[in-house]
Amino acid sequence: MADEKKSKPRHRTMVFESIYPVLALMLILVACVDLCDAATVVDVYRLIQYDISGVPFGSRFSSLNHHAASLSFQPGADLSRSVLILPLRELDIGFVQDYISQKQSLGGLLILLPQMFRPGNVGGGSNGLISETEGFRKLLAQLEKLLVHGNIPFPVYFAFENEETDAMLADVKKNDALGQQATATTGGYKLVISVSEPKKIASPTITNIQGWLPGSRADGDSNQLPTIAVVASYDTFGAAPALSVGSDSNGSGVVALLEVARLFSILYSNPKTRGRYNLLFALTSGGPYNYEGTQKWLKSLDQRMRESIDYAICLNSVGSWDNELLIHVSKPPDNVNVKQIFQGFSNVAEDLGFQVALKHKKINISNSRVAWEHEQFSRLRVTAATLSELSTPPELLEDAGSLSDTRQFVNEDGIIKGVKLVAESLARHIYGHQGKDIRIFADDSSLAVNPFYVRSWLDLLSQTPRVAPFLSKNEPLIMALKKELEDYTAEVSVQHESLEGSFTFYDSTKASLNIYQVASVTFDLLLLLVLGSYLIVLFSFLVITTRGLDDLISLFRRPPSRKVKMA
């Protein structure tokens, strides 16, 4: 008997113990609230986050879980738990500036860009909207400058307008105008981006690709032949690294370099037409960061090779100009070499029907800022010039692939004219035809500039964001550029360097935004009340119809008869 009694509690405890894992499983299941079934999911691109010598810039946070608010919010409302949705069309720069400079707390900022700025969107708008487009570009440039150089303590994301965001924004504006700002108790839209906190990119690499096309050696070593270098930096920097495609800066320069390489490879493939100059083509990285890649590449060159460089032409933004290209030099204009280069270029330009102008900017050795790529050459005593449509050098981290620099604003005719200019000038110098009116790369010859080549490479580059710290060593684009140079030159070498200096970058550049339409707590409570009363009414109804009203009343009264019996 005692054993039976003991075994019963033991049996009971065993049953209870076996329930625990089931209970734990149930609790885990309950805790997994799935957030992945939003009605709307939008691709968003984060503002860049970087440090210069430890000083933080850009947006410092990445994850977002707040209600949506629009510009029509009531003045004085607390937005520290809301995400402000700003379409570019209604942007007021002063407002954003105030918000950032006064360090007012905001849950997040979502900037909606018109579809025309989307990298894959080649179809330009109708001509009637050109002034509007220009206005947007200016506004976007101002906004970028403000955001890139500020230290912003909340997440900032860029997204492209589509129907769903338009509908949501209209709804949010309506609610805000009525004064019902979205919070936990009033419902509305909730924007959720769930990504991990951004981490520093450990050792960002910059990759330089160089192609060497040797000239014909009459007698002696080809290393003793003079060299002409054509250089372009291919990486970009912009407010949103995942959108920074830099069609003009410097996609146009890269395309021009590739086309010049192709033309000269045709010429040099035949020993009879091979010139007595070596040609060195270099695609450098690290452009926005004071042309660090160019400096490292030059330093890595053999000293003899560097000394054999007659002059170098750097290409920077040749995609949107009409009548005039500028040649920027750091040596004074009355220098013999500079004069010779400029003369050659301006003769060719005259023949081709446009103008080139010379601009001189002295290098300030004490200033670490490198304004043009040719300055890196000049610092190592190599004659160089930059061919560009820009008249003033871009500021640090600006105009190097901004959000408004997309494919539709690049004119491929400009690139083709630039290619003709560079190729003809180099050819006249190499083959000794200076001053003669000879067109080597004439339009209907076998050496004509190929517009389809230019267009296809330009389209490709305009869909590939190229911010150097986010490019891996074996990035497909780098492999493609290497292969292209391998087709046109004899020797290609790829140099990987790490981006030193004072720049530190953080990852997490792209995310998915989930937009949920949520109901407020009051709604749930109301629903509970309604359902509770419905069930009570149902209960009473059923009791009355099946057992009678007396039974219903007797449910609530203690039966007195039992007490009488007990007594």
Binding site: D34, D37, V518, V521, D524, L538, L542
Partner: protein, 228 residues
């Protein structure tokens, strides 16, 4: 607040069954076992229906109302009626009056139907952040379904368990039974051909269920008179 919404929809979907059981004399006569047996029969019937549907039905890509497919679905729907027949007549119940028998069978049947069809979508869907009215409407549909099933069980018991019925009422009984058992086909017709949205369909189901309940109640009372 999402678990809150799940809780709300759950009590809307499954609450009325519990309320029905406790409010009516079913709880006094301890008819739980009958309900459980009816639920098991429903499970078996659902499995058979699934196999038949998988074998005979062609899945159409678009939401087109194909009369032949719908007729086939209705045929397979009669397996439901066969299951109900089995539950009402073949299962050995304890001595409970006919009144309570059909109620408990109907209740068990409807509860199993709700659990099988509605619990999983509710669990997966109502807990998310996004708010939709779908699950509240689903709960209302479950209520309508409960009334339908009990009416069908009442008519079934009239058809198969009661021997002496007034001759004039027999066709009416059969007509009502046919209407109730083809309700799924009627709702799918409404959804596809007439293009009604879910709230409208649920409203229609609720009204129809109340009307049917009233009619079957009247029929039951009318048929009870001669035996008195």
């Amino acid at each position: 607040m999402t678990l809150f919404h799940f809780f709300n929809c759950a009590i809307l979907t499954f609450g009325p069954h519990a309320v029905y059981y406790s409010a009516t004399p079913l709880s006094e006569y301890d008819t739980l076992r009958t309900c459980v047996k009816a639920a098991v029969v429903y499970l078996a019937t659902a499995l058979v229906k699934l196999v038949c549907l998988a074998t005979f039905l062609q899945v159409s890509e678009t939401e087109v109302f194909d009369p032949y497919q719908e007729a086939l679905k209705a045929m397979i729907g009669f397996i439901d009626v066969a299951g109900l027949y089995y539950a009402l007549t073949q299962l050995t119940h304890r001595n409970i009056s006919q009144n309570h028998k059909f109620q408990s069978v109907g209740l068990g049947w409807a509860f199993a139907d709700s659990v099988l069809h509605r619990l999983a979508p509710l669990w997966v869907g109502a807990r998310g952040l996004e708010f939709t009215w779908d699950y509240v409407l689903q709960g209302l549909e479950a209520n309508a379904n409960l009334v339908f099933t009990i009416s069908l069980a009442a008519l079934g018991s009239l058809m198969w368990l009661r021997k002496n019925k007034p001759k004039t009422l027999i066709p009416l009984i059969y007509i009502c039974a046919v209407i109730i058992s083809t309700m799924p086909s009627i709702t799918s017709y409404l959804r596809r051909v007439m293009g009604w949205h879910f709230p409208k369909i649920v409203g229609f189901e609720l009204i129809t269920s109340l009307v049917m309940a009233f009619i079957s109640c009247q029929l039951f009372i009318l048929c009870q008179r001669p035996s008195l």
